[in-house]
């Protein structure tokens, strides 16, 4: 596997893993039971996708565990967007909406990837993400068109999330190689498709799109520079593993 392909799969997996971890934090705390269940389901899918992608990087079963539980923070390639704490439901819902549309489109594009294992799993992942975006759209539309408070909250969440969401499409090391080898058509193409997809939904939800030209993407994650939230997240995740350095299996 070339370093470019490794990097591409790793950053895709890291996004899913960290967002899955964040979404799992809603289990038991949602605004109503059905949402606890929905966020827990989506978290399982995301962590499951990350697991399969990690295994693609190294078939050895222990390798995925090492990537998840032993790797240094600077070696993670996730974007800042997924690292943010769950905050209130408005933020988590907006992140889920913006990220999962990008994720679904990414896998749709990857179905034609020249790298067969990615094309194979992309088909499966895409099918699951259909339900994630359906869920996100349902609640974005209802809360955007809900009452004064929900509308204001969703608008603020959108304004807050967009610069972070643009970080999903940050250029990464080896991207040109990935494009030229027909592994993936590129982040720029994905971003265009994503905007095309989300704009009408945002409009139907009665929300205003900020002027994209004024937005500065929150980048750095793809190059190992992270927000202040990633290190504490990893520390918490590894609390048990770190306390038992001799343990082989759990």
């Amino acid at each position: 596997m070339t370093p470019a392909l490794y990097n591409f799969i790793l950053k895709t997996a890291d996004d899913c893993f960290i967002l899955g971890h964040r979404n799992s934090e809603w289990t038991g705390f949602g605004p109503f039971m059905e949402e606890d269940i929905a966020f827990a389901s989506m978290a399982q899918d995301k962590i499951g996708h990350a697991w399969l992608l990690y295994k693609m990087l190294d078939e050895n079963a222990a390798a995925a565990e090492t990537l998840a539980f032993k790797r240094a923070e600077k070696d993670f390639k996730c974007c800042h967007f997924v690292e943010q704490p769950i905050g209130e439901y408005d933020f988590s819902l907006m992140r889920h909406f913006l990220f999962d549309h990008a994720d679904q489109l990414r896998y749709e594009m990857l179905m034609n990837s020249s790298f067969e294992p990615l094309a194979h799993f992309a088909k499966k992942f895409k099918g699951e993400l259909k339900y994630h975006t359906m869920h996100a759209d349902t609640f974005i539309l209802q809360l955007g068109n809900g009452n004064e408070e929900s509308k204001a909250r969703m608008q603020s969440a959108l304004n807050f999330c967009l610069p972070l969401a643009l970080g999903i499409f940050e250029v990464y090391e080896g991207e040109q190689e990935i494009i030229s080898q027909n592994i993936f058509a590129g982040e720029k193409v994905l971003q265009e498709k994503w905007l095309e997809k989300i704009l009408p939904i945002i409009k139907d939800a009665g929300l205003q799109m900020p002027d994209m030209a004024t937005l500065q993407a929150v980048n750095g994650g793809r190059h190992g520079f992270h927000s202040d939230y990633l290190q504490p997240l990893l520390k918490e995740m590894r609390e048990v593993v770190d306390a038992f350095p001799d343990a082989i299996e759990w």
């Binding site: 971890h21 934090e25 289990t27 038991g28 759990w250």
Partner: protein, 331 residues
Amino acid sequence: MYGNGYISPEETAKQKPDPLAGEDLQQLALFEERIARGEKIEPQDWMPKEYRRQLIRMIEQHAHSEVIGALPEGTWITRAPSMKRKLALIAKVQDEIGHAHLLYNAAETLGKSREAMINDLLSGKSKYSNVFNYPATTWADVTVIGFLIDGAAIVNQVINAKGSYGPYCRALERICYEESFHLKQGHDALVHLAVGTKEQRAMLQDALNRWYRPIIHFFGPSDKASVHGTLLMKWKVKMASNDDMRNQFLDQYVPKIRELGLDFPDPKLNKNAEGVWEFSDPNWDEFFATINGNGPCNAERLAVRRWAEEHGRWVRKALINPSQKQVLPLS
């Protein structure tokens, strides 16, 4: 996960001297004949007021136990020590919330809304299983809960699934299927600790020591002498005595723990010649203190639920569409 229909002292005090006063005796006789024949009672059927009241109380307590039961294990989701354990634990806790969902629906068929039940939980009026007022201090606690508390809950729920109220029995049947998977994942995680390093094993034994008493308390105090029990048993609201269920549980699970070379911290825990398990006095005062709000985690558990309730209020408010009103309960 749920212990048993525990009747608090206030509940007993509220009980009228004659719970059947004012009932149509002819209808009552038909009702009792149906139950004796093994028929299920459905929401639209005639039922005595006391039957309805007791079932609401019991199903509601069960639902609350699932919601609160998600919390001690839920705090370990972000710390589960491998990809497999992480996925399994999210799925498991998700199931518990799903059980609450099924049970609130079943209780709603008897005329109390989910909102009213949740309000009673948050105000401290309704009870839930005592066992969830203890902290899950280490990862080993998660495995002990998954194996032993879920195991105990299955004993209770399999028995209650043979009860008389249709919607509750159907919910319990589905819950039991899912709980049997919880048991497997709990057992698998517990065995991994038992055969792991010295430190992993010590963590597990420590968890067993701490959970022993809450597990003995799980089925509630001895109720063989309870007058209250007789009517509920006749109506198949309560299907077995607390002692019988506890005994069945100990019989199934103590050997499984001892097989692993581990034990519970009670030298008197043994099966006597009649096949009945004996154990030291588990301090029922502690049980009553905990059920009445003075256990180690009561305040914290309710505070977490209140947080979720308050922070989610704006969402629920915005989603209410007055033109769409649900008429019939779903269950």
